[in-house]
Subunit: 314 residues, 2 copies
Amino acid sequence: MNAICDLFGIQYPIVQGGMVWCSGWRLAAAVSNAGGLGLLGAGSMHPETLREHIRKTKEATSKPFGVNLPLMYPQIDEVMQLIVDEGVKIVFTSAGSPKKWTGWLHEHGVKVAHVVSSSKFAQKAEEAGVDALVAEGFEAGGHNGREETTTLCLIPAVRRVTKLPLMAAGGIATGEAIFAVQALGADGVQIGSLFALTQESSAHEEFKRLCLQLEEGDTRLLLKKLAPTRLVKNKFRAEVEAAEAAGADETQLRELLGKGRAKKGIFEGDLDEGELEIGQVVSLLKGQPMASVQETMTRLLEEYRKAASANYSL
Amino acid sequence: MNAICDLFGIQYPIVQGGMVWCSGWRLAAAVSNAGGLGLLGAGSMHPETLREHIRKTKEATSKPFGVNLPLMYPQIDEVMQLIVDEGVKIVFTSAGSPKKWTGWLHEHGVKVAHVVSSSKFAQKAEEAGVDALVAEGFEAGGHNGREETTTLCLIPAVRRVTKLPLMAAGGIATGEAIFAVQALGADGVQIGSLFALTQESSAHEEFKRLCLQLEEGDTRLLLKKLAPTRLVKNKFRAEVEAAEAAGADETQLRELLGKGRAKKGIFEGDLDEGELEIGQVVSLLKGQPMASVQETMTRLLEEYRKAASANYSL
């Protein structure tokens, strides 16, 4: 019995994070078909694109799947209605307060998990009535909490304040890490980077190829005066670092960032000008071939079982 | 059988980090007497002070203990000779290359562990002949690696490149975390913050009291243009943050830092002007009473056993 499996009706408590420009119907359906929970990343989809991806996911899998929706999504009312109309039963919310939408989603038979970066936000999310939590640490890719609390420190902190089903996120790309975060109090995991670099991810091949060559220290949390974002080293990031070192303010950074940088980098494969988002754990994947989701899940399960049956001693 | 216990001849693979202004003979002897490995923090001691602490530790315990020595210590030749003359059998080196001293220490019957922040440095340390490694993640207190790799990502990376006995450091203040890092590939742990705040630590009472009230997000890695250092929020840190936000360069930061700030804060208890160093994991200790080393060790062992015997499921 696993609280995450029970809640979502899935086989393994392994959720694929809903990531901008990576998590379309192919990835979500593949993860759900492999026994995990696939999530569509609505953050980078127009409403009608999301509708199309929801429909295609339903065609491609009979298993549960969900949508990740950042709560600062511009047409949030429209897209929430669409999610309900299309019969989606699981929503992961992030980047905002879950207070406004959780009750409404529940009324429409949708289960809600919310992504937090601290035990304070975990308590607020529980008060808002969410069914489960994702606690995401400093090592995660993309947008990130301001507290910079790492997964190792965050999971026990969140576990102490709530009994809700809890997924750990950030720094998890192996079965050993899944076992480790369970020892810290998580029931399951949300995995981003590892799935972003599978064959089924909609990220550009060049982006995946680059990420599978990164070393320790090649990602860094920057843009803290805007929204802290973990970025891969490239030409654009060097400009950000130079600007920040010189004391650039919010306005200057916003101008430097411009619009559509993440799409340019992750989806269009512009490795120089694009904003390349991936988690710190990517360096553990260095040199690995680009795997399918099924191969990835099989490896995670094998590693987990090995870790769970190893001899440990004090 | 545990590689760390075997190497050092200790009961539990729990090493107390040698921390500036915290790790005198009282703390080191108490940890060794409780079955772990106590380390004197030479970084904040003049050579003759270190000699005195070595002698007092020997009087206070018959168990193995060691010295942590930053390799940028000004009178390094003098202090290395002193360590050997006083019969110390275990040295943990940090903040520098272990190439020059490891062989010499071995010739004098001293076992050497080296602190690293990346798998590259781990490989270099193994080439230098060290007997064991401490891999310390981003969440650790005080001086810190430039890669910002968290313990969750760092331990598997180091484990992949070396079979040396491996201690995880950074973010570990519970028995559950000890179990978790073993699942990631560590044999044992080096624990700093938790021991820095025990009764036997030589840190100032006011510093300990403040640290035992800190919340998530209250420590932050700053001074990256000098040497990345994790600092507790206070008046001095606010000045550092303001200077860095405005683009202060290395020289300006060095001037702002001045001399003796860590002593002022940690040892003298000046909570406004001092440089307060503690690990991110301190927030897990919030509200706990100031424990003795023996109580702390007992709790760690209980938590570990509970974690090791829990039911985990995928």
